[in-house]
Symmetry: C2
Subunit: 342 residues, 2 copies
DNA sequence: CTGTTAGCGCTTTCAC
DNA sequence: GTGAAAGCGCTAACAG
């Protein structure tokens, strides 16, 4: 591989001059003639600056670290998969590359520590954050730059971007209200989930401000699985017909899929007898029948916002707001209709 | 961040000595006492070697480049998503990290070129290879180290690992034969697809060696979509009942899902009237009803094999075989049964 | 306007 | 057994 010396020799100038024209610094000082000369030489020898040397000199790697999160069991993590892709893309647009790594069985921290100590990455992007997230407290303590896709403890001050789950649920419930529904239920997550709580709040608030009361049984909580959806539906089926929900918003497409399959098993027709809305717009949403109306997370916007935020963090610029909510889009497909006029 | 100098000062030795004990080189020359001294100092100051400096010195980055492939439309690339994760894991086990990047709109080559010229990565891993793959010819021409998940032109000599699609289809067809099926069809890919052809060969050969002839209409070709599966099924439905397939092997879970939904639309019960087998074990396979019997690609084994291969490539060790087929596993679920004794 | 040069943090040859 | 020092390729302060 050619080095800056080769270029300098070829162009008949010093390496400093080559560096100047290449880095656009002081370039107003460089005569156009020399400039040309250097650029030609660069092209001729096929030169590109060596990343390791630059990194050493500048003590930064132009690399952003991001840890993979595997789906608990058997796939279905479409949001994070596409997040990773768009994150790589946004990072590149900002002049960085993505270093993806995995957690060891000793938990996440050792890898972060190693990455920091060896200076492998300039910053981290986190996702799948929880309450009391160890990674966040660790990075905060180390003072190492990072941004997060997702929130954590409200009293921790760190930069994050998140899907506006509350606003999303508001969109969903409003849409159902417009279709004429009044008895709207929710298949939710356990109360300790941050985004679960936010989304549930959106549902609750929108119902309230529409003057609708929510019977406690209308909020069913469970994990991220089809079974959770099935259980929720079966629970509602125990109610007298006149009290059963005519529509349900779900914390996740997978849960929605569970609601739908349990409903169909009982002869309830989705879109006619029961309207269902999911969350995430997983591939699944397009493949189940009827196609699922859902809230699509705006991943490309999210990764862009994360990178913009990261750039200000790396500039130690504390003037800009350090969080940002991005509204999901309601994708209307075939799983909703007006309540059957029974 | 502490440097090797800090450690040296703390331990009261020279930086060379520190380097020796840390790199286990010449360590038989280092007295145990000094060794201890250094190790303690390392721990005390919290030292880890700086990656950029090491990279510069050794002119290698310990980074492996891998380009993301986005699914043509709306997700469903589960195999590659999980491939990327396991690749990162296998790379780490071998002392590397994964640098994931994306293609620009100018095609893949510019990024590869830039990565090579700047010495950002030591090698590449390719996936989703095609015939006359430009990336392969480029890397071959540049003499840059790479390994590939998937084959390409038979006359190109390069290291690859691939799922044994032929053997997989053989497993699938054999299984159907054992269940008593004789009229087995295939929803295949167009003839220009490499893995499509390999899998189709497995189907054809196994049928032949069972003494079964394949009516041309039994092989339906289409792209990677549900519609392709639906079209295939509808085509078979045009046949007189006694000539219709009682089982079908599909090139992909998604295509299988299309076959299943078209079948159900016509009142054909999957598992009873028609047996279906997919390929890939996408998340989808577990969520459609009935759960899809399918061939699961052995991704962790594949990424491990790729890395083992890459290590020998990087050692310029030409003695080891440069390709490797890994058998998929037949995951038996609920989409197959014995042919209905009509 | 351009060149000389020190030095980023590490490894390794060579000398003691 | 251990240390001094060169040098990987680049950038930027300083000199001219």
């Amino acid at each position: 591989m050619p080095t800056i010396k080769d270029v300098a020799r070829e162009a008949g100038v010093s390496t400093a001059t080559v560096s100047y024209v290449l880095n656009q610094k002081k370039s107003y000082l460089i005569s156009p003639a020399t400039r040309e000369l250097v650029l030609d030489a660069v092209k001729k020898v096929g030169y590109a600056p060596n990343a390791a040397a630059r990194n050493l000199k500048a003590s930064q790697s132009h690399l952003i670290g991001y840890a993979w999160h595997v789906a608990p069991s058997g796939g279905m993590n479409s949001v994070l998969d596409s997040f990773t892709y768009y994150l790589a893309q946004s990072a590149e647009a900002a002049g960085y590359h993505l270093l993806t790594f995995t957690h060891t069985d000793k938990g996440p921290l050792p890898v972060y520590e190693e990455m920091i100590q060896s200076g492998r990455v300039d910053a981290f992007v986190l996702s799948d954050t929880t309450n009391d997230d160890k990674r966040i407290s660790y990075l905060l303590e180390m003072g190492y730059p990072f941004v997060s896709f997702g929130r954590s403890n409200p009293d921790w001050d760190f930069p994050w971007v998140d899907t506006d789950g509350k606003q999303g649920m508001e969109q969903a419930v409003r849409y159902l209200l417009e279709l004429g529904h009044r008895r709207i239920a929710m298949a939710a997550w356990p109360e300790d989930s941050i985004s679960g709580t936010v989304r549930a709040d959106g549902y609750i608030d929108t119902m309230r401000s529409a003057g609708l009361s929510i019977p406690p049984v209308y909020i069913q909580r469970g994990e991220h699985s089809e079974e959770a959806g099935q259980r929720a539906f079966n629970c509602w089926m125990q109610l007298p017909p006149a009290e059963r929900p005519t529509a349900v918003v779900c914390i996740t497409d997978l849960v929605a899929s569970g609601v739908m399959s349990a409903a169909e098993a009982q002869g309830v027709v989705i879109g006619r007898d029961l309207s269902v809305i999911g969350f995430d717009d997983a591939p699944l949403a397009q493949y189940i029948r009827p196609h699922l109306t859902t809230l699509q997370q705006a991943i490309p916007e999210i990764t862009q916002a994360l990178l913009k935020m990261l750039e200000t963090v790396l500039k130690k610029d504390n003037s800009t707001p350090s969080h940002c909510l991005i509204a999901p889009r309601l994708i209307i497909r075939d799983s909703c209709g007006s309540p059957s006029s029974r």
